[in-house]
Symmetry: C2
DNA sequence: GCAATTCTCTGACTAAGGTCAGGAAAATGG
DNA sequence: CCATTTTCCTGACCTTAGTCAGAGAATTGC
């Protein structure tokens, strides 16, 4: 635990909390409690089901109900029973609600501008760049990874995303049935493992291992959601999978990959993988890599 | 108002508020309201007068009194009448209070570390660097400047700081009585102007103008507090003083300076000042500069 | 010496942001 | 079809973080 780094983070937290807090509170209040403004914002232009809204904002159902009642009385929203399921209620902005939301938007822009306005052009550039760095790295630090059951909807979703990305990127397209399979039951410990990366509860990446006792383990299904790229998650997934493989007694990890996946190839090379001769007849593969764990 | 920059600032605010808020609240609560924890922290190891404490935390006197009563009942602080002034009360941490404060400190460190811990060494470095940039630039954007009365204690304090800095930096030391004077009454409009920069209410820099109708105005007393250097305040003071001078009808600004003040000389050169022959016999000056305003 | 001011405390009040238990209505599982 | 679950609402209650008016004691200004 690096003490000067920690002190810098604490100084940052103090300054930023002071600056953001002072401005957003009150300024975005518009005479109504912040909770109502946040809710109004979160409903969005298209409307939402109340249960979704509650989940997104983390509200108690009683509290949410009262907040919505208050917004309804102000004439900003309408609430009606959802067409599909009679228990679920659907909330939408009225014209007045949309106008109010636009005003909140305008004010949030103004708050943001007040950060930049006192600075000269060079300082503004530096601030925006540094903010984007901080934001991306904070997002990265909010991601956590765990070995999960490959049969859950989230796990299946990740693997589907992976396949659909391969299909887009390979010159030939990608048909899973023509590739060497790695069925979900092969990814359940002790035969294998599926590692899922999550941000704010939602899945944003995965990677898998297939163990072959006495032989090298295979690395499969490495995927990171497009919006989460550039955060170093690929490397973290890889490190974590290698750690896991080693704990399971694996000495060597190997993998095959397609030539269009250049970032992945880069990652493997820079992580100590060396290219070896084809060790299987995967039709979509152009490169085969291997790494001895230590 | 640059829209993409504004969007980046908003994205930053959301992410950072989410991350900092979620962690600091509760984690630093220790079963007592945040207000009490903040107060406990702010009292510090040496103790404080309640009126100072109130000013620093911006608390209502009634509210502060209740918070302190509660901390007193928990056995964390003692409150006694100040020795000097019988109205003022002095608050100090007990041993238990100091232990509690140390625990808060430890937890704040832990929160900060939780930002860094998931990242690898290179990412940590980038995060700390970017945070320090953001923090400095946000501080810069919190500074505001105004023409103020040069006779107030804050104004006098700035000018004293300026003199004491000259005294430290000049090879010969600095004695104001041997220098060409610029008495406070000469810095009152319309004869002159004193610009003061403030951060969180406290003065952190100054700069002055002396007008000579029909002749160049003189720039004097440019000073920025050491802890606020590197924020571009010198340049902002200069720009603001030039703007003010121009509004007052001045065409040319000039100044003299000592060779040891290299950052200032840099600033003048890069702001369009060109060196001219000595236009006065200021004994402490080595360089004379002039700029035509437009 | 006395009026005005400063500092602290108490009591009464408020708003915001919740939590919790229970009930009604609709949907679902077997 | 019936028990269980899901979704939402209502009423009762709570803590936190204040604000405001007023009073008492000490100090300061003149």
């Amino acid at each position: 635990m690096d003490a000067t780094a920690v002190q810098q983070v604490r100084a940052f937290n103090r300054t930023v909390a002071e600056r953001i807090g002072a401005l957003t509170d009150g300024f975005l209040g518009r005479g109504r409690p912040m909770g109502e403004s946040r809710t109004l914002w979160e409903i969005g232009l298209g409307g939402t089901e109340i249960r979704d809204l509650r989940a997104r904002l983390g509200l108690d159902s009683g509290y949410a109900s009262r907040v919505l009642r208050s917004l309804e009385q102000e004439g900003l929203i309408t609430v009606e029973t959802s067409s599909g399921d009679g228990r679920v209620r659907y909330v939408q902005l009225t014209d007045a609600g949309r106008a109010e939301r636009a005003e909140l938007d305008r004010r949030a822009d103004e708050v943001a501008w007040s950060f930049l306005e006192p600075l000269d052009a060079a300082q503004r550039d530096r601030l925006v760049t540094a903010m984007s760095d901080v934001q991306r790295l904070l997002l990265a630090s909010m991601v956590d990874m765990a070995i999960e059951d490959p049969t859950t909807p989230d796990a299946r979703w990740c693997i589907e995303q992976y396949f659909s990305e391969l299909n887009t990127r390979f010159e030939t397209g990608f048909d899973p049935s023509k590739s060497i399979p790695a069925d979900t039951h092969e990814l359940v410990p002790p035969r294998g493992a599926l590692l899922i990366a999550r941000l704010r509860g939602g899945p944003i990446g995965c990677g898998a291992l297939k163990f072959h006792p006495g032989e090298p383990a295979e690395l499969k299904r490495m995927w990171v959601a497009p919006e989460a790229r550039g955060l170093g998650l690929g490397r973290r997934l890889l490190v974590e999978l290698e750690r896991h493989a080693k704990e399971a007694g694996t000495r060597v990890v190997r993998l095959e990959t397609n030539r269009t996946l250049s970032e992945a190839i880069q990652l493997y090379r820079s992580s100590g993988y060396r290219e070896v001769a084809a060790f299987n007849d995967e039709p979509y593969a152009h490169h085969w890599f291997e790494k001895r764990l230590r």
